[in-house]
């Protein structure tokens, strides 16, 4: 099996975190998932500061980013990542409840790699998460600097 790679899941809702992890687990993709509970934490992780100072080594192969979050929201996180030369190549997938066109447009303008609306149906949700994880963590070759877990 190909080496699994680290996924950063940024999600403020713990139930969503649980369901997402459950979906990833179903496909054995949850082992290297780092969870940030808001935008600020996500940036801390990516910049190895605050709670994550000295803790992390290497960048995730993909950031699964919720849009609506307290403190720093998803669009802001995306914007700062794209402004940061070290982070601007890190793939970002928006996983959100919002179908709003405005959110979609803003996300793509800021350079998001994919935009996924969370289906209400759990089965469909599981399928979506599986495919995202499978594509970004296994099929896609991440930019240099991403952490790979030896299988």
């Amino acid at each position: 099996m190909a080496p699994l790679k680290r996924i950063l899941l940024v999600e403020d809702n713990e139930r969503d975190v649980e369901l997402t992890l459950a979906a990833l687990e179903e496909h054995n993709l949850a082992n290297e998932v780092v969870i940030a509970r808001d935008g600020a934490e996500a940036l801390d992780y990516l910049h190895r500061q605050g709670k994550f100072a000295g803790h992390a080594n290497g960048l995730p192969v993909v950031v699964l980013l919720d849009l609506k979050m307290p403190k720093v929201d998803g669009l802001e996180v995306l914007r700062r990542m794209r402004e940061d030369s070290a982070l601007k190549h890190v793939p970002v997938v928006m996983i959100t409840s919002s179908r709003e066109e405005q959110d979609l447009v803003s996300s793509y303008q800021l350079g998001v790699n994919a935009y996924v609306v969370k289906p209400v149906d759990f089965q469909k949700f599981v399928e979506s998460v599986k495919q995202i994880g499978f594509f970004w963590a296994i099929i896609n070759e991440p930019p240099p600097g991403a952490v790979k877990r030896p299988n």
Partner: protein, 704 residues
């Protein structure tokens, strides 16, 4: 000039006359002189004749004496005595004849004694002869004695004759000179007469030529004058002091409708109705009495009705200071008069306030609208500077505009307030211009008080509207935020319910009985239902908020896309599609696609019980709008609920029969309305349904 020519002419003629008279007189004088001289010549010749006669008589005396002496015949004595008397007569006669000549008288005095001596000698001898006979007298001495005396006498006669001959010759010479002078004078006179005649001829001929030229010039001038007068649009006439027409121009004939030959020589009484004739006469009298030109307006009846004329009559004076004629010019001023009346009417009837004001700040003329609007009399308005009537806040602006006007600028739509007599203010809107040469402002004002009030009201309403718009915008923003929350936050718990139900199902499947599992299914189904509701609501809300993007859209393509998208539903169904060619329209493609999807999906859904189902899609052109329709042979509906069809969450069927959220047709209506169209439906329970929507040919965007 004329006097100079005349005086020259008179002088010339006077000189000529004087010269001719002088010559005439001279000629008379010389002729008289000549006649006189010639008489003297004749006299001299007479004297000479007389001398010769005297000599002859003396000889006769001697001859008769000798005869007697010799013969003694009485006859000789008789002759002698007769001769002796003749001699005495002759002396007397001669003395008278030469009374004018003292020289000859003197000689005669010397001659007379000689004659007397001779005669006495002869008488003596005769006496001697008578007494002594022939012998006494036959002696030679005696004879010699007589001969000497005779010679002396003859000598005297000769001297006298010589003197007289000399005189004759002198006189004859004088006659010659006098005749020559006379001839010269007559010749000179003739020559002068010729010169004068010739000069007179030349002068008179030139004068005649000049006169002819002047006359033709006068004639030309007269013709020109006639042309001018005949082509003058005014009536022109000339009449004598008795009122008889001497001249009228063509316009006069036209106005009077009488030809010239029937006017000339007649008076106003002869050619006009009595009243007109009288009026004409009175005007003439006025001019005759005052000797001044007289101007007046009169109404003259033309063929097309009465006309107003401005007439002037004036006297013409002769050289003696007497009025010999009256001239007149009468101009038809009817058009001007009418224009004036019209202007006055316009001025008086105008609802706008029209005025003429001076640069001195006072009104000069006002139309009645002023009194009507402000309540003052014209006198009150004219008495004070106009600034006194103006609202204190507007005085500065008004006086600025006044000075603008006095520098030649125009004033357009200037607004200020005037105080009425009742103390209230009226808003006026001014347009004005000034005539700098007259120092006058010509202005008109409109009372815009009501308009101003309306404007204020409109401004107030606008502010109100703006407030409402702001509120509405805020409400919209809130709604957007709400929608966003709904889309994001409301869906999350649903997802969680579904997710955890599924996880529970997985974890506790064996532990749950049939009923428990059914409950889990219901929970999951409800969550899904709720999710669909939320999604549809979001779409509905988005349809209202998103801006329309117009483009040319092929209705055919949209319909086919929509049918294709419904394949999932239609795969295991038998549906007969009947689709006619549809026109291209101008609309928002995404929204119009939604309309077609919703309507076709409905038709597919509600025709589910039919086998085969029939769905017809088409378009009618009706009153300039395109009416699209989707007809099915499905379950239909009760027309009494037709009005509910397009409402939000309105359903005519239970969810168990036909799934749905009740949003689809509401969306259709909203989209069609935003495109400026209408939606309606026709149907019958179990008789199928037809859903229509129209689009205007010219797209209109309306909000909401």
């Amino acid at each position: 000039m004329k006097t100079s020519v005349e005086s020259k002419l008179s002088l010339g003629f006077a000189i000529s006359l004087f010269a001719l008279a002088g010559l005439g007189w001279l000629s008379f004088q010389t002729t008289t002189n000549l006649v006189d001289t010639e008489r003297w010549v004749a006299h001299a010749q007479e004297v000479i004749g007389a001398l010769e006669e005297g000599c002859a008589i003396l000889t006769d005396t001697e001859t008769a004496e000798r005869g007697y002496l010799l013969t003694g015949e009485d006859q000789f004595l008789k002759d002698f005595l007769e001769a002796q008397i003749q001699t005495k007569d002759w002396v007397d006669q001669f003395r008278r004849l030469t009374a004018d000549n003292p020289e000859q008288q003197q000689r005669l005095k010397q001659l007379e004694p000689l004659i007397s001596q001779r005669l006495s000698l002869l008488n003596n001898r005769i006496k001697l002869r008578q007494e002594q006979g022939l012998k006494s007298v036959a002696g030679a001495v005696a004879l010699r004695e007589g001969k000497t005396l005779m010679d002396q006498t003859r000598q005297e006669f000769l001297a006298m004759r010589e003197a007289e001959s000399r005189l004759l010759s002198e006189r004859q010479h004088a006659v010659q000179v006098s005749a020559a002078v006379n001839t010269s004078i007559i010749l000179a006179g003739s020559a002068l007469a010729c010169v004068i005649s010739l000069t007179a001829f030349v002068v008179i001929r030139r004068d005649l030529k000049l006169r002819a030229q002047v006359e033709s010039e006068v004639q030309a001038t007269r013709t020109q004058l006639q042309s001018f007068l005949d082509n003058t649009p005014a009536d022109v006439f000339l009449k004598d002091a008795e009122g008889r027409y001497l001249f009228v121009n063509r316009q006069f004939e036209t106005t009077a409708e009488i030809s010239r030959d029937k006017i000339l020589g007649r008076t106003g009484f002869d050619i006009f109705p009595k009243a007109v004739g009288q009026a004409t006469h009175e005007n003439d009298q006025q001019v005759l009495n005052t000797g001044e030109p007289f101007q007046f307006e009169e109404v003259i009846l033309h063929a097309d009705g009465p006309h107003t004329h401005l007439s002037v009559k004036f006297p013409l004076w002769d050289s003696r200071g007497k009025i010999y004629a009256i001239g007149g010019v009468s101009t038809d001023i009817t058009p001007r008069k009418r224009a004036e009346e019209e202007r006055d009417r316009f001025f008086n009837l105008s609802r706008d306030m029209i005025c003429i004001a001076g640069f001195d700040g006072f009104f000069k003329r006002l139309n009645p609208a002023w009194e009507q609007t402000l309540g003052y009399t014209a006198g009150e308005l004219l008495a004070k500077p106009f600034l006194d009537f103006i609202h204190p806040e507007d005085v500065a602006a008004t006086s600025e505009k006044s000075s603008d006007l006095s520098t030649g600028k125009e004033v357009i739509q200037f607004e200020n307030r005037y105080r009425g007599k009742d103390g209230s203010y009226r808003w006026f809107a001014w347009n004005a211009r000034a005539d700098l040469s007259r120092q006058l402002i010509y202005a008109s004002a409109r009372d815009i008080t009501r308009q101003k009030q309306s404007e204020e009201q409109i401004a107030w309403l606008n502010t109100d509207l703006q407030n409402r718009a702001t509120q509405l915008e805020a409400a919209n923003r809130e709604l957007e935020a709400f929608s966003y929350s709904v889309s994001h936050d409301l869906r999350a718990p649903l997802r969680h319910i579904d997710g955890f139900v599924k996880l529970l199902d997985k974890q506790a499947k064996e532990k749950l009985d049939e009923r428990g599992r059914r409950y889990l299914d219901i929970i999951a189904d409800s969550a899904r239902q709720m999710g669909m509701l939320i999604d549809d609501l979001l779409v509905f809300s988005r349809m209202s908020r998103t801006e329309l993007r117009h483009a040319k859209v092929s209705s055919d393509a949209l319909v086919h896309e929509a049918i294709h998208g419904l394949q999932g539903e239609t795969n295991d169904r038998q549906i007969r599609w009947k689709i006619t060619a549809l026109p291209e329209v101008e609309a928002d493609p995404a929204m119009l696609r939604q309309v077609w999807v919703n309507l076709i999906a409905n038709a597919v859904k509600y025709s589910r019980p039919r086998n085969p189902a029939e769905i017809e899609i088409g378009c009618n052109l009706d009153n300039g709008e395109l009416a699209f329709f989707v007809r099915d042979n499905g379950v239909g509906f009760d027309m009494q609920y037709a009005h509910k069809l397009f409402g939000v969450f309105q359903r005519l069927h239970r969810a168990e029969e036909f799934e749905g959220t009740g949003i689809g047709l509401a969306n259709v209506r909203r989209i069609v309305h935003r495109h400026g169209g209408r939606t309606w439906a026709e149907g019958k329970i179990d008789g199928g349904a037809t859903f229509f929507f129209s689009l205007p040919k010219t797209p209109i965007e309306t909000k909401g």
